[in-house]
């Protein structure tokens, strides 16, 4: 990528420009999917299974149909096309097919004149159930062979042995993405038998593919529009209410709105996979890793969703950013009657990082060496093979640099104050300062960028020059992360034109941008915008014999040779690009091969204050250093690093979905705690720029790494303060006090 940087353009790459949707968002004028409405619209509601596993003996929708204001009541028999959906494997019934396989599975849907009538009507449906024993134990599911995917990785000498051996069993709980905006959708009939759909999504084209199959419609009959979104974090990568709201609208011929409340949202989207991991690390007497052996078990819940890909990530990152020539991994994602799991920020790499970083600390202790020195000694660099797949990293990987940068951030002063707001118990006044023990912990994490294992991963973008400015057309979902700003910055820098607007097109007007997940959009849609802008610029320069494009036209040797109006004399000029990253390949039967398209490394240091008697923890600071390739928007990067850390802190000390015999016991913000302002640690970050070979201007996707190693860093800090083994995240008070 040798694109010259146009220094005279304001708002280009490398600057912290403001987001274009900022003013609408601070004034309350930004239209989220949940804000869409029309006068004649109906409200939809869903009847859900009260059992984690049960046979549906009978279903009487009569009472609902008899209610005034009810316009439609639909069940699985009313699904016009394929009765199943799923992103990777179509295994989930659109509505209950006679057996409920998880608690809260949709059974019937209702459209009515108002929200309350719709909900009362759904509740009036009489379902008779024969409860069945739920398969809620993932280890039993593994024994029974109830799996979505099993993976075996064998690399190097399987008989290699080390002289220092540490073993551990680690667990992580299920975490909810808890985006602040719940699921919402609005379907509008187009008058010719088709629909326009506005649903919270991370990837409208993959929704579209599933929706048209279930509705048995032609692609152009259903148009999925990118809608305003209140956060995502993986929760919106799979279908929720999309097909339901479309069915109700088609059945009634009227616009229909559906919106989940918080409790329904907890059952209405996939979760982070809970995990159990058995690890053995072997090193020689000098501390060089000799062999890593691991077994990983992820509970995928009732339906497949993205469990196969999540498992692959966990398995390929079993060892983390460390060199090791001999590796053995057996990994399984199992099918149970627990809540379905899928994407959440970090996507399998989170679980593995908790395992391997806990192990690296144990190994350092067994060797009697500094934990950071052990990590530096074994750190993987560009040119090294990934310990699991053997893929040679053909790009710089600044593992040692991020560790060094992190270590250079000063540690905070010791706790000096008795102000209860600074103590683990907070203003509850439970902990005196004299009881507080401070701990410091570190962790380093590795993550892939974009889709792997040979998936045909691409992003389409169209860049259009008009007399009024530049338009970037895409279907890439802006979920809050700031892709919209990055697209503008890239186009400005390449084209030399400041006035750039991002226009979201529906599925009939532009090709897929792929998912807003896997830290991929800055590199993929950013890459597409870059390539489309370069192609457009070069074509314009060639046509007009210029050497530079600026706000007001084409220049040659500093003199204008064509105005923008002249360039657009025959109408807007445009360039459409479908951008692909370097090809990846499925792994062979031993899990070997060039599976990934790129890698990002980050490190975190946590400082905690603990009251060991009461088991209370205050996370004082979490500092970080991360490779970003090239900082396109420094302020937005800081926002991703700080926000991602907070979700990692959540998993370390408070976030846990309590599932009992398949039933979620805490599906509210009262009972499922996420960090508030007073829980939020201070964060200082260092940005390292090791250019990516194919990212625009060398940029890398950065969204997930902050969540990956922050959790093990916090838990390591609590271990340092308490001396407890703490093999499970989140750490609960009882784990610290030992009851």
């Amino acid at each position: 990528m040798t694109t010259p940087t146009r220094t005279h353009v304001t708002g280009g790459i490398g600057t912290s420009v403001r987001r274009p949707d900022g003013v609408p968002k601070v004034t309350g004028n930004f239209a989220y999917a949940s804000d869409l409405h029309s006068k004649d619209m109906l409200w939809g509601a869903t009847l859900r299974s009260p059992h984690a596993h049960a046979r549906l003996v009978s279903l009487d929708i009569g009472p609902a149909l008899a209610m005034t204001g009810v316009r439609a009541v639909l069940t699985q028999d009313d699904v016009p096309g394929l009765p199943l959906f799923g992103q990777e494997e179509q295994d989930q019934p659109v509505l209950c097919d006679g057996t409920a396989r998880y608690w809260g599975e949709p059974v019937a849907i209702v459209a009515a004149d108002d929200e309350e009538t719709a909900q009362r009507a759904a509740a009036s449906i009489v379902a008779e159930w024969e409860p069945l024993a739920p398969l809620d134990n993932p280890e039993r599911a593994a024994d029974d062979g109830s799996t979505f995917r099993e993976m075996k990785i064998r690399r190097g000498d399987q008989n290699a042995v080390g002289t220092v051996v540490v073993e551990g069993v680690y667990e992580t709980a299920s975490q909810d993405q808890a985006p602040l905006g719940t699921e919402a959708g609005f379907a509008i009939p187009d008058g010719s038998g088709g629909l326009d759909l506005y649903v919270t999504s991370q990837w409208v084209h993959v929704d579209h593919r599933q929706i048209i199959a279930c509705l048995d419609m032609e692609p152009d009959q259903i148009r999925c529009h990118p809608a305003g979104i209140g956060g995502a974090f993986g929760a919106r990568e799979d279908i929720s209410l999309h097909i339901h709201v479309a069915m109700l609208s088609l059945a009634t011929g009227l616009p229909v709105k559906m919106e989940y409340d918080r409790s329904e949202s907890f059952v209405g989207h996939v979760k982070r996979h809970p995990s159990k991991m058995w690890y053995r690390h072997e090193a020689d007497a000098d501390g060089n890793l000799v062999k890593v052996t691991a077994r990983l078990l992820l509970d995928g819940g009732a339906y497949a969703h993205t469990s196969r890909a999540v498992l692959a990530n966990a398995a390929f990152f079993t060892v983390g950013p460390y060199r090791c020539d001999n590796v053995s991994v057996d990994a399984q994602a199992v099918r149970t009657n627990n809540p379905p799991c899928g994407a959440m920020r970090g996507f399998g790499a989170v679980q593995a990082c908790f395992g391997y970083e806990s192990q690296m600390d144990r190994l350092a202790e067994a060797l009697g060496v500094d934990p950071l020195d052990l990590r530096r000694q074994n750190a993987m660099r560009g040119g090294d093979p990934l310990a699991t797949s053997g893929q040679v990293i053909d790009a710089p990987l600044p593992t040692i640099e991020v560790i060094d940068a992190l270590e250079s951030i000063p540690l905070p002063e010791p706790l000096a104050s008795d102000d209860p707001r600074l103590l683990p118990g907070g203003t509850g006044l439970t902990t005196p300062a004299s009881k507080v023990v401070r701990g410091v912990g570190y962790a380093v994490g590795l993550k892939n960028v974009a889709f792997s294992e040979g998936f045909d991963d691409y992003a389409e973008a169209r860049v259009v020059l008009t007399p009024a400015g530049v338009e970037v057309h895409t279907a890439a979902m802006e979920v809050g992360q700031g892709l919209v700003t990055v697209c503008q910055q890239i186009a400005r820098t390449v084209l030399g034109i400041e006035n750039v607007a991002v226009v979201w097109d529906d599925t009939s007007h532009i090709g897929s941008a792929g998912s807003t997940s896997a830290s991929r959009q800055t590199q993929m849609t950013g890459g597409a915008v870059h390539a489309a802008s370069v192609g457009l610029r070069d074509r314009i320069l060639e046509e007009h014999g210029g050497d530079e494009l600026r706000n007001d036209g084409v220049y040659r040797e500093g003199k204008r040779v064509a105005t923008i109006d002249e360039i657009c004399g025959g109408g807007p000029v445009e360039n459409l690009v479908r951008f692909r990253h370097p090809e990846t390949f499925p792994p062979d039967k031993n899990g070997q091969g060039d599976v990934h398209a790129g890698f990002v490394v980050a490190a975190h240091r946590a400082v905690v204050d603990v009251d060991p008697e009461l088991g209370l923890v205050r996370v004082v600071r979490v500092d970080t250093a991360q490779d970003v390739g090239k900082a396109l928007n420094p302020q937005a990067i800081t926002g991703q690093l700080e926000g991602g850390i907070m979700q990692g802190v959540g998993l370390a000390v408070m976030e846990e979905l309590i599932v009992d015999h398949g039933v979620i016991r805490n599906p509210t913000f009262t009972d499922y705690l996420i960090p508030t302002f007073v829980d939020a640690p201070a964060v200082e970050s260092r940005i390292i720029e090791a250019p990516d070979p194919w990212g625009p201007f060398g940029a890398k996707g950065i969204g997930e790494s902050p969540t990956i190693s922050s959790t093990p860093a916090v838990v390591a800090a609590i271990r340092a303060a308490t001396g407890k083994a703490l093999t499970r995240a989140p750490v609960r008070p009882q784990d610290i006090v030992g009851i």
């Binding site: 968002k25 004034t27 203003t427 809050g480 302002f677």
Partner: protein
């Protein structure tokens, strides 16, 4: 039943049912969707409005009880071209990502600065601890309010 509330300086009347929350009436009946609904349990602060001088969760207020009251929503705080200092500071510091929490922080934060023009870091954290943000990690929001506290808006 009919309820009349002064919203953002204008008397507004809505036909409400007894159980309806002020949040629902603002969003659905008065066409003021800027106030957000993220939990309806008083846990997230997305629905914060000023009710007779107090910052409240509008999801916990019965609309009928707001009869005769004065309510300020995010739509009454500032508008494009004439932003409230809190809105301006949040934009400048990058405190807005998905923005779903933002109306609540704008309203609660403006109320904080009215009652305490120079809050300390700990006062800012405590005063806004009823407002959840899932995206930013609060760092940029803190920086926005620290700037405002220094300026004494």
């Amino acid at each position: 039943m009919n309820v009349t509330i002064t919203v953002n300086g204008e008397p507004r009347t809505a036909d409400v049912v007894a159980s309806e929350s002020l949040l629902n009436v603002l969003r659905d009946d008065l066409d003021l969707p800027g106030t957000k609904d993220a939990c309806e349990q008083g846990e997230c602060g997305s629905c914060t409005v000023i009710l007779d001088g107090e910052a409240v969760c509008s999801c916990l207020v019965m609309a009928a009880d707001a009869e005769g009251s004065e309510v300020t929503t995010v739509e009454g705080m500032g508008e494009p071209g004439h932003l409230h200092p809190v809105q301006e500071a949040m934009l400048a510091e990058g405190a807005v990502q998905c923005g779903f929490c933002t109306p609540g922080f704008v309203v609660a934060g403006a109320h904080l600065l009215e009652t305490n023009p120079h809050p300390s870091e700990l006062e800012i954290r405590e005063a806004l601890s009823g407002n959840i943000c899932r995206c930013t990690g609060y760092g940029a929001i803190l920086r926005a309010f620290e700037t405002l506290s220094e300026e004494g808006t």
